[in-house]
Structure formats: C-alpha cells, structure tokens
C-alpha cells in the first residue's frame, strides 16, 4: 500500500496511509503514515464505533497538513479500553 501511496504522491497528490505494521512502513517509507497497532481489517477501528472511526479519520486528514516527509505518526491508541468522542465540528 505504501508503494501505491508513493506513486500517487509522485504524481502530485498528497497522501496519508493508515498502517498497522510499522516495520513495513519504515522500509517502504510512505509520504505520511498514521500507525495504529490494531488487528488487520480494522484500520479505522471497530464496527459501529462512530466516535473511534471519526477520531482516526480526523487525525488522518489533519496530518496531511503537519506531517513531515516520511513521518510515521503514532497516537498510541489502544485497541480496546480507549474512550473516543467525535471531534468538535465533525458531528455529522
């Protein structure tokens, strides 16, 4: 996936990758990465958890503006036992 992000970024489009495996991102070096150590198949979290999904989406979209080239951002959210609220202004 990071390889596809690099090709899209090369074409002049900004990209942000959500990944669950940091070692692969360290090798492939996507332009911007949000690392969440969560199970495969769940990049935005658990089904039905809108607050969690929106929190991840908010972090991903905003990181487009501040991540340095190749940076891997790590919010450190645990897979469970984390309380999420929908980011302010994103109550849609």
């Amino acid at each position: 996936m990071g390889l596809i992000a690099r090709i899209i970024e090369d074409a002049g489009i900004s990209t942000i990758c959500i990944v669950s495996l940091k070692p692969i991102a360290e090798q492939v070096r996507p332009p911007r990465t949000l690392h969440l150590a969560w199970p495969f198949g769940h990049p935005l979290g658990e089904p039905g958890n809108r607050a969690q999904q929106m929190t991840v989406l908010y972090a991903a979209l905003h990181s487009l503006y501040f991540a340095e080239p190749g940076e891997i951002l790590e919010p450190g959210w645990r897979w469970r036992r984390e309380t999420y609220t929908i980011p302010a202004g994103w109550e849609v």
């Binding site: 489009i13 900004s14 942000i16 495996l21 492939v28 989406l57």
Partner: protein, 176 residues
C-alpha cells in the same frame, strides 16, 4: 502438478496466517518485523495546497473491496492480483463487497467504514467539512513478483493518473 500443490499450500498458508494475524496483532507485528519489503531512502512529497474545506479527496484501499457487479479479485493465483477496481464516489455501500482471503473481513462487512470509509467521507463532504469526494480505487494487497512489477509500472501509475485527471487533492489509503 507440483506447482499446483505449491500454489494450493501457499494459499492455505496465507489464509491461515492472515486469519491468525487478524486475531493476534502482536504476532502480526513479529511477522512485520521480519518481512522484507522494498525499501527506499527518499520520500516523494507533495504539500497540501488547499484547506480541508476545499480539498477533493479519494480513497484507495488494498482491502479487496469491489462492487458486487465487478469481477472479484483473483484468489486462485498465490502471487496475488495487481488489478484495481474503480468505485464511483456515489456507489451505495450496499453495492460493495470484499474479495480477499488473507485477512478476516467479517467486521468490515458489517461496517465498511472501518476499512473503506466512503460513507463517512460523503457525510463530511455534505456538511462542508471537506471539499468533496471523487471516485475511489481498490486493490487487493499481498502482491508478489511478477505481479508486483505490473502494480508498480502499470496499474498503480494508471490509478495515479486517473486521480490527477479527476483533480483529486489528497488520498487516504487504507490496508487490509
């Protein structure tokens, strides 16, 4: 005959490890640490030129998502399938499905937003939080040589050029 057996065993192995990794992220991380991906010293970089409220977004996933009326990804070839599916921005979520045997997508089928947040992105656009949503693209991850070459030289550049033509400002990529 030997190749058949090898292909079938490989697929069984990928399917099994994918299912186990879906349940046990710690094991997946161990595997990720040992995995040799293509590695790069440099990073391509395009700064964002528009604020969120004006930026046009597309999603790209490697989770094997496709419309039910599109051909499924090839799960017969253990080296993967480097083709892509275009998913128009207004596709109803009910028209989408997932073909990818190497991870557990039961939860994503219940709520596609956890893998391919097209519905969430459309809501953000309707509320003016982002500028818009363009047509999206889906691949099936797990692509090995010789198909990796096809991905890097043909299919991924083709998707990049469609995104460019469609005046996309930013892309969110989500994995399996």
């Amino acid at each position: 005959m030997t190749d058949d057996w090898r292909n079938r065993s490989l697929k069984d192995l990928y399917r099994l490890t994918g299912q186990i990794f879906s349940q046990l992220p710690a094991l997946a991380r161990l595997w990720g640490g040992a995995y040799r991906a293509l590695s790069f010293d440099t990073v391509p970089f395009t700064p964002m030129r528009k604020p969120l409220t004006e930026a046009r977004f597309a999603l790209v996933t490697t989770g094997g998502v496709h419309r039910r009326d599109q051909p499924p990804f090839d799960m017969v070839d253990p080296r993967g399938d480097p083709t892509y599916r275009r998913i128009p921005a207004d596709t109803p979520v009910a028209d989408l499905t997932i073909t990818h045997d190497y991870y557990d997508h039961t939860d994503a089928e219940r709520d596609l937003n956890i893998l391919f947040p097209l519905a969430l992105m459309r809501s953000l656009a309707q509320h003016g939080i982002i500028g818009g949503v363009a047509d999206c693209y889906s691949f099936m991850g797990h692509i090995e040589p010789p198909h990796l070459e096809t991905l890097l030289r043909q299919t991924a550049p083709a998707v990049a050029s469609f995104l460019k033509q469609e005046q996309v400002d930013a892309v969110l990529l989500t994995p399996a």
